[in-house]
Symmetry: C2
Subunit: 450 residues, 2 copies
């Protein structure tokens, strides 16, 4: 826990590498957790990282590889032979192994799988690679502890001693019938507490939650979080036990999902990090900015269309950024509340009730803000009453419309199978800018009659 | 898994409640998971929810209570006596019990704890309530399986049969010395695989990750996610074992943290949901809108200050929403990347390198966007060359400054102990609007000389 990457540690390490002092390097990493080694590898130069990976035991490096940043891992794997990758992968659980092999080119995937010494693992990996991304099948591991319902507790303990060695964490023991169909589960604790001559069928729980192999992984995450499960068995359409998903995989799914929503809200295409290259970062950001730019053109045209009002009411034009900003802020607030409600499955009640609630809220917000705006605008900025009234009425209307759009766009996107988080990003801010300015000038035209 | 709340289910349930048909209601809920029952209670009226809670066994209702929405739970607890709450809480693990008692008024806390039949649980709850919010102590449970290093495997198995009954999930078995100091850990699997006459000290792992009871809960979540831990022991400053934190609690911490960041980015004060009252929602939203409104006033004043330019270059004013929107979007993108980097501890390299990278990116984005703007603006919107050049140069400058501000504000906030996610919200959008417009008109003044 106490390990921190210090400059001294890195200097020392790099020095040792240049001396080829393998013994000392091994000693240096002996007590370091693989997740920390992975961080060290992200810090050193690429050649140094390769040196370290090739030096350490594959039992340790296999764990390090799974923890590495995807970009660093890709570069390291390029420098290992198929046989070397197979040695690393051979030490991993099937789910991690399949994830890493899945990152290789198809042709290399073949060669690595053929180079695996463990035929069973090779078959498991092939099976796991065959499932679609973002399904339970792609997330699960093949390693699990499985017993037949007809066994006794004592027999079961003997068999488990064999199976459990390959399974990092046992969680549940799954009970199957002779066709390998899932019929129940029990915990190691149940087994330890039971008498040794009891039958498994007597002590196992028949009610066992399971997910289908084709279930969406975010759905699996929701189920596991809702029911507080630490592992869930994965079955096919015939109830045959195929694998299991553990909660640590779900933690990753939840984090990825949250990161994705956050990035969408900020107008960044998925999956960039601060340490990505400038090119990758630009690629993720520029499309949204271009979208916003074209939105901006539309508002320029709208304002240009009202140019005649400039002579009589120049002050009207001073308020456009304010109106646009309020529309943008309100819209994002409304969308964010809906997006989170959808993510947590906590949106209840009819659409009409939601509409009513949103309109009422925006009326309250609108009146408070309009009152502030009128008093401040006229007292301190010295605007005429008719400008104050026009801006205030526009503000209330714009807030109301932005909040209605912000509420319903994510609901509609979700119904059409599009990620509703899209609605919290530049997409809705830009539309709200445009609508806001248009409504503002239309109301001004009606009131002021230019 | 297959349970879905249908209108028929609810109608049937409400009918049964009005008939006082307790037997049928119990039957109805018999096979339903407590997390699903909690959802049903959120759907029915408040009196109906109380009726159901009072009807079902406390073994089941205690689990339901922990799953309920906080608002619903609060209302239900208000309608239960101290004794009734004590019965519910008596069935819970110490961490859930402490969480729920912690929601009561101090005076009720006293009475509920005094009404508890289990003195040990009462003491545990008192201890847990004494730790500060958002620390490991407030998150941990007292239930764990603990063995002394001098025991044999066989003796250990006997004792564990006793302890394990009270512990829902065993995860690790913690090894302590005679002063209750944590010295190692082993898994149930290790115990099952070992020979029965081996000493615990021989088969346990001496290296055991632990967190201090005063550690920040988000730090604990990061450690557990990084090292893939499913449970972590909690110790005091003298290494004495106090409790343990399991990964399901961490899943909640991670979700809360992600929700909080997301809401901050959207300009919503923490902890509201779509189903909260209009008053709560308004309270969470209005302060940010007022902030944005005052930001808007500043931009109004700035524009007012350049009124003289209106006669010669009216088109300049048409571009203000575009410039403001671009500044806002770029700033939020930059901040979001930094906020996520800080959250994942993945920000590497010096500040100067980060600055260089950000400036380069914004130059690329700026030039592409300026080129698009000039060509589109002059070809389709028919603006004069000097306006086109002015807006283009301003756009590049504004993008560069917004991205630098967006990068450094969250870093500075983080260094000062303020949540950096604040920087992705209306706060930075509003400042960027103001800076953007100011820079735009200053550049215009220099180039066009009005």
């Amino acid at each position: 826990m106490a390990f921190e990457i210090t400059d001294e540690f890195l200097e020392n390490l790099v020095g040792l590498i240049y001396e080829n002092n393998d013994l000392e390097i091994k000693k240096l990493f002996k007590e370091v957790h693989f997740a920390d080694v992975a961080e060290v590898l992200d810090e050193v130069s690429f050649d140094e990282a390769i040196y370290i990976i090739k030096l350490l035991d594959s039992e340790k490096t296999s764990e390090i590889l799974t923890e590495l940043d995807e970009d660093t891992r890709e570069k390291i794997l390029e420098n290992l032979s198929a046989k070397e990758i197979a040695d690393e992968v051979g030490e991993m659980d099937s789910d991690d192994a399949a994830d890493i092999i899945g990152e290789l080119s198809e042709e290399r995937q073949e060669r690595v799988i053929n180079a695996l010494e463990d035929d069973e693992l090779a078959a498991d990996i092939k099976e796991l690679l065959s499932y679609q991304d973002n399904t339970a099948g792609a997330l699960m591991a093949k390693e699990l502890v499985k017993v037949y319902e007809t066994w006794t507790v004592a027999g079961c303990m003997r068999r488990i001693r064999g199976q459990a060695k390959e399974v990092t964490r046992v969680h549940s023991i799954y009970v199957v019938d002779k066709e390998d169909k899932l019929v129940g589960r029990l915990s190691l604790k149940d087994l330890i507490i039971a008498k040794s001559d009891q039958k498994i069928a007597e002590i196992s729980k028949a009610k066992v939650d399971a997910v289908n192999v084709n279930e969406d992984d975010e759905k699996v995450a929701k189920i596991m979080a809702k029911y507080d499960l630490e592992a869930i068995p994965v079955i096919d359409d015939n109830n045959v036990l195929l694998g299991r998903i553990t909660i640590d995989d779900i933690v990753d799914v939840l984090k990825e999902e949250a990161d994705k929503d956050y990035q969408m809200a900020a107008g960044i295409s998925q999956d960039v990090e601060a340490n990505d290259t400038i090119w990758e970062l630009t690629k993720a950001r520029l499309p949204w900015l271009i979208l916003a730019l074209f939105g901006g053109f539309i508002s320029v045209s709208i304002l240009g269309g009202f140019e005649t009002a400039m002579d009589t009411y120049p002050a009207l034009f001073f308020f456009t950024p304010l109106i646009a900003a309020m529309a943008g802020n309100v819209g994002v607030q409304s969308s964010a509340i809906i997006v989170q409600g959808l993510a947590n499955d906590s949106l209840k009640g009819s659409l009409w009730r939601r509409l009513f609630k949103e309109v009422l809220q925006s009326l309250i917000n609108g009146f408070v803000l309009a009152a502030l705006l009128m008093s401040a605008g006229m007292l301190f900025l010295g605007f005429k009453v008719e400008i104050g009234v026009t801006v205030a009425i526009s503000l209330i209307s714009v807030i109301m419309i932005a909040s209605i759009v912000g509420t319903f766009v994510p609901i509609i996107l979700d119904k059409r199978g599009v990620d509703p988080a899209l609605a919290t990003g530049p997409f809705i801010t830009t539309s709200n800018d445009i609508f806001g300015i248009l409504i503002y000038f239309m109301i001004a035209k009606i009131i002021l009659g230019f």
